[in-house]
Symmetry: C2
């Protein structure tokens, strides 16, 4: 049916045809994700609910916001994007997240957790002011329900004074199983509902916030969903409603149903490299054996950041804060005030949510919290909202913070070992894959000290992180064959700079390389350091844009960071 | 009693003596705040509760965290700081907020709302791991209770599995009256409590989160508070407890009781200047008359940011989001997707809380939200957590965002007028006081274009914001008397830079001036722009530290930004 019409006419379909449509959607999702990578389990769970939504509501006049947004594949397939669905997550192809630029059926871009209810309230408020008439729906998983933004939006329900439909898609999982008191409460609600049908003894927490609560229903039962949505569509005319449905992650694909955590995200790459997260896990677990102060903190990402083993071995020194990056940062700061040594493992893009808490709670108190920042630099196929291209910028501006960028997994391990005795705030940022292994004579990693990897009189390349060191070494080697001799320096501490080494540099030409935006990042610090020196500095860094989805090599090259462009610069007239 | 002993021995005092102590504290607070400025109404409301806490608990072994922290004056007076209390908020004197560096009685520094419960959980968790034995107390106002961090902490209660005491100090106010569904719920709880004493029909929302709830009690009744705290201290041995008390802002000082909003913060300065917030209010109110798309959004700061009049005149186009900076930013983004024109007025330091939402929701969607950023630059006597010294840095790194810095209130007005037709994300940052008035021949303010205020061949000063333009003009004038001729350029758009003007600059010597940290700020952008030019650039900006409390002129001079230092540089050998 998806092949016949770009936008299937669901409203004229029979129940039987709708069920077949669900099967077809499921097949397309499995095929595409297996080829392209992407989010599998959550999208399989959302098929019936999405079909029911498209059957009952009128998109794009009605508006739907998918929280986080990775569960929108069926919606994309039903809204004119089936023929392009094979380009999902490819450079230049369909995004794996809602994108206003892509379709009028996507009204609000998402990527980070918890924004959907605030966004729905804003859209509905605008509708009311303009005296328009359409429905606004937020679809949000129970994982996102731990996030503080959701509560801020609940608290705003009376002030905003508008009607929206919130669909709580409860599958008992974030990427890892959902934690927290709210999750326990949702479980209790589900069991109460099963026990006593619609006759609940107490008002729910949602009713306390002024919402009409209806639940719990089977979100994978298409007929039930259609009936329910028709009902709430009526109710929505007079008040805000929350509909609580249970769906099964991986529904309809047994391997997925049995392994929802492993099949949350599927990688297109079949190669396996050593990952930085594995090194974090094994190193921290070993260090924690000797040092009882060490405690690991994550925000609903325990396996992805490599800490499953640590959590199993030291449950009393493990905290999964839920999707609560700000709360996690404050907890780390507080633990450190009492002499504990917290390691907060988090993705670069999600730490943005804790910017203020990192600045005020951790760093203005100058507390020994170590942030282990994964997926830093371009992270690839998830696109704009997931690239880790800003952390060197938003962390460099924070006083008291040391920012480290290991050149390979071996150096990462050394940095972690050295961090135990380091009594100040520390951020270590690294990509997912550890592809390189640069031999090094350094026995230890001395904080604040860089490393000269290669010497040459014509120019000095200052590079940080394995992708950039690799690029620098290849470029220097190639330039050498043409008679241009270039130093390569492992600028493994972006903050503070190794000013002693910088001051001693005799080359007039300096080149900086970083896997980060130029503004406020490493290159910009070097520009400021040399602002009165008369040196000629060329910065290779990402331009001032949001970098879209695509392969890492494709994107770095597209945005000017490649061996070719560095060699071209080194061999140009600029270097003389 | 405060004079006799540095730390009054409350536990050996009679009830009568404790009551006298309350009177004495109240007197000291009123006297000091009237002289030095500071937070008056909230501190007067906290006197009895604080005395009761010190009577029942054992500080500093027991730990207390004051949310936001401005209500800690009685605590400071009771913990060895009475003799220095006359230095409150003075440069080098006592901070107006809790400070670990100041006393072992302050265990956790605060300043931004909502961190106290997360911090208490972290401290209690460390206690449990180390098998120590003390009580941990978070004192939090109902205003902070709208903040998402509070909910993230509630959600973490089961995961953290530790016992803390939360005292909800409900005075029905943030700086402005508290808004939101939670506030309405708290009011309902209070009235239920009065109606039915301890026999409430339903579980409270807090009990749903696994806390033992006890309330509502009169927090200004010393004897009642002592009894209650003794009770909860017992209960705390087995579970986390929330004690809900009502206090009266301004208690014991009738002018304050009647005007809690006006006496939340008292300014030491008796002068009245035109404030930027007034210009925002009058201009936006006028513009909204003609343009129905204009909508004003604040985060519990309506009067402080100058929008009381707007809110009164256009209630349907006014949103007070509560202390929910992130939610407010998402609501603005969503409103803009529907063709509305939102103006989000917020303090520089508090916008840090919405960093991710500004980046992802507003700017990656390239939506026409205007952020009016008040108290930018050094804001003075509130200290580290309130200086607006980072916004140029954390905003410059955000793609799609235009960052404007008006040179005076007249230019601010022009920028606001021009912003109505500007269809992209915009930030305008400004200090509290509008002290200057630079005449200008510019009829209109063209976005991205700078203004030459003075011409000279020896150097070019690029300055942004009225404090810096003023400094630049005075320095240029003085240098001219010594034969050094200096251009002064009003760099009123920090992003994008006016690259046309920059490229045309013939002076080899460039000086940048900004009321912001150097790293990632304006000067750093100029350094990068000229990194391959061989120009000699001197940046005047704040060093890489957290700037403490003090007078604005004191602090700018202390950190190297003064007419003297600029003149010295202009007349030095560097400029030749």
């Amino acid at each position: 049916m998806l092949e016949k019409q770009e936008i299937p006419q669901l409203k004229s379909m029979s129940k039987g045809e709708l069920h077949s449509l669900c099967d077809e959607l499921r097949g397309r999702i499995i095929d595409t994700v297996m080829n392209n990578g992407g989010h599998l389990a959550s999208n399989l769970g959302m098929v019936e609910l999405t079909v029911a939504l498209h059957y009952v509501f009128d998109f794009p006049s009605d508006k739907i916001i998918f929280d986080v947004g990775h569960q929108c594949y069926s919606h994309k397939l039903l809204s004119g994007r089936a023929s392009k669905f094979n380009t999902l997550r490819k450079f230049g192809g369909l995004s794996g997240f809602p994108k206003r630029e892509e379709s009028e059926y996507d009204c609000y871009n998402t990527g980070h957790a918890g924004t959907s209810i605030s966004a729905a309230l804003g859209i509905a408020k605008a509708r009311d002011i303009k005296d328009e008439n359409f429905n606004v729906i937020a679809v949000i998983g129970d994982g996102s329900f731990s996030n503080g933004l959701v509560y801020e939006a609940f608290n705003g329900v009376s002030e905003m004074n508008t009607n929206i439909l919130i669909i709580l898609n409860d599958n008992r999982m974030s990427i890892s199983p959902t934690v927290g008191t709210m999750h326990e409460y949702l479980e209790k609600l589900s069991s109460e509902s099963e026990l006593s049908a619609k006759k609940r003894r107490h008002e729910t927490i949602f009713e306390r916030f002024g919402l009409s609560y209806d639940g719990v229903y089977d979100g994978n039962d298409l007929d039930c969903m259609i009936e329910k949505l028709k009902e709430v569509k009526e109710k929505l005319k007079t008040r805000p409603v929350i509909l609580h449905v249970l769906t099964k992650k991986g529904k309809g694909y047994s391997y997925c149903e049995e392994n929802p955590q492993e099949t949350h995200g599927i990688s297109a790459s079949k190669q396996h490299h050593k990952e930085y997260s594995e090194v974090l896990g094994s190193t921290l677990t070993a260090l924690a054996q000797k040092d009882k102060r060490i405690i690991a903190v994550t925000a609903a990402m325990t396996p992805s950041v490599g800490l499953s083993e640590f959590f199993k071995k030291y449950p009393e020194r493990s905290i999964d804060a839920g999707i609560c990056e700000g709360h996690a940062a404050v907890v780390c700061a507080a633990l450190a005030t009492q002499g504990m040594k917290p390691y907060y493992a988090v993705y670069s893009t999600f730490l943005q949510r804790a910017f203020d808490e990192v600045l005020v709670d951790i760093c203005s108190q100058n507390l020994p919290v170590t942030m282990c920042i994964d997926r830093a630099g371009i992270s690839g196929t998830d696109g704009e909202t997931h690239q880790g291209a800003f952390d060197l910028s938003y962390l460099s501006l924070v006083p008291n913070l040391t920012v480290a960028v290991p050149k390979d997994v071996a150096e990462f391990k050394k940095m972690l070992e050295a961090s135990v005795g380091f009594n100040y705030p520390l951020a270590i940022r690294y990509p997912k894959d550890g592809l390189c292994n640069f031999s090094s004579e350094d026995e230890k990693c001395i904080f604040g000290k860089w490393e000269v990897l290669r010497e040459g009189k014509d120019a000095a390349i200052l590079a940080c992180g394995e992708r950039m060191i690799s690029l620098a070494m290849k470029s220097a080697e190639a330039a050498s064959h043409k008679g241009v001799e270039v130093s390569v320096i492992n600028a493994r501490f972006v903050k503070p700079l190794d000013t002693q080494l910088l001051t001693s540099l005799e080359q007039k030409n300096i080149v900086t390389l970083e896997d980060n935006a130029l503004i406020g990042g490493f290159g910009s610090s070097i520009d400021s350091f040399f602002s009165r020196s008369g040196k000629i500095i060329k910065n290779f860094a990402y331009p001032d844009i949001f970098i879209p989805h695509g392969g890492i090599a494709e994107l770095t090259a597209e945005y000017g960071i490649s061996v070719e462009s560095v060699i071209n610069y080194l061999l140009s007239d600029a270097i003389r």
